[in-house]
Amino acid sequence: MSLLSALDISAMGLTAQRRRIEVISSNLANANTTRTAEGGPYRRRDLVFEATSPPDPFSAALNTEIEGQAEQGVEVTGIYQDDSAFIRRYEPAHPDADAQGYVLLPNVSPVEEMVNLLSATRSFEANTQSINAIKQIAQKSLEIGR
């Protein structure tokens, strides 16, 4: 039971990190977007990670009852918009420029996004390693009866 719940937890880790990579891609893709559905330039987005119980509700409830604080999975519980100031650039020819000739550009910093992207990739890999270790353990335990 515990091995499978460990697999579930690592899978949750993979999903969370993949969502993070998706959001980072969206930020990078929209680094120059000046028009959005809600009006104004694109706002940088980020995720909220939260530690939650493993997906199987029965074993999760059982674990909490008998073991107290047990292993926890991870879930993306929200996406928030970064409210920091937009970048102002002087570009009088731009159709979205204001009266003084300034264009508001998204508050996306490519350097910050690249750092986050690397961090998400490494965390993703750590979860993959964990899954491989669980597979190895399962394989080994199958050899006991041979």
Partner: protein
């Protein structure tokens, strides 16, 4: 002849070792999955203490709330994971150290393989005895 060879204390203890390894594996997975979760704290088992308590026979059984209940046989008490002390806490109040977790992951897998092989060997010996050494 002494006790039943299939249930000797060494095999029992090795079984407990595998059980604890799997639980520890789940905790390492949990730590790795939450490496970017703000406020999450690293959890682990006190492996040596759990193993000792298991061999000293810390057992639990179902409570008989009625005199006519039959009750259950003894079972090993579940291990109790605890927060790990002494790790550096980052700005987001998370203290998962990825190097520590990867080391745990590697040593845990190796130890599991080792003990699993010992148990397999034990059963091979038995099988060989049953088959008159053939």
């Amino acid at each position: 002849m002494g006790e039943f060879y299939l249930e000797d204390p060494t095999t029992r203890q090795m079984e407990k070792f595998l059980d604890l390894s799997i639980q520890r594996q789940a905790l390492v997975s949990s730590n790795l999955a939450n490496v970017d979760t703000p406020g999450y704290k690293t959890v682990d088992l006190n492996f040596e203490r759990e193993l000792r308590e298991a061999s000293e026979g810390r057992e639990i059984s179902v409570v008989a709330t009625n005199p006519r209940h039959i009750g259950s046989g003894p079972a090993h008490a579940p291990a109790s994971p605890e927060e790990v002390e002494g790790l550096t806490i980052r700005n987001d109040l998370n203290n998962v150290n990825i190097d520590r977790e990867m080391t745990q992951l590697a040593t845990n897998t190796l130890k599991f393989s080792m003990v699993a092989q010992l148990i397999a060997g034990h059963f091979r010996t038995l099988k060989s005895a049953i088959n008159d050494g053939r």
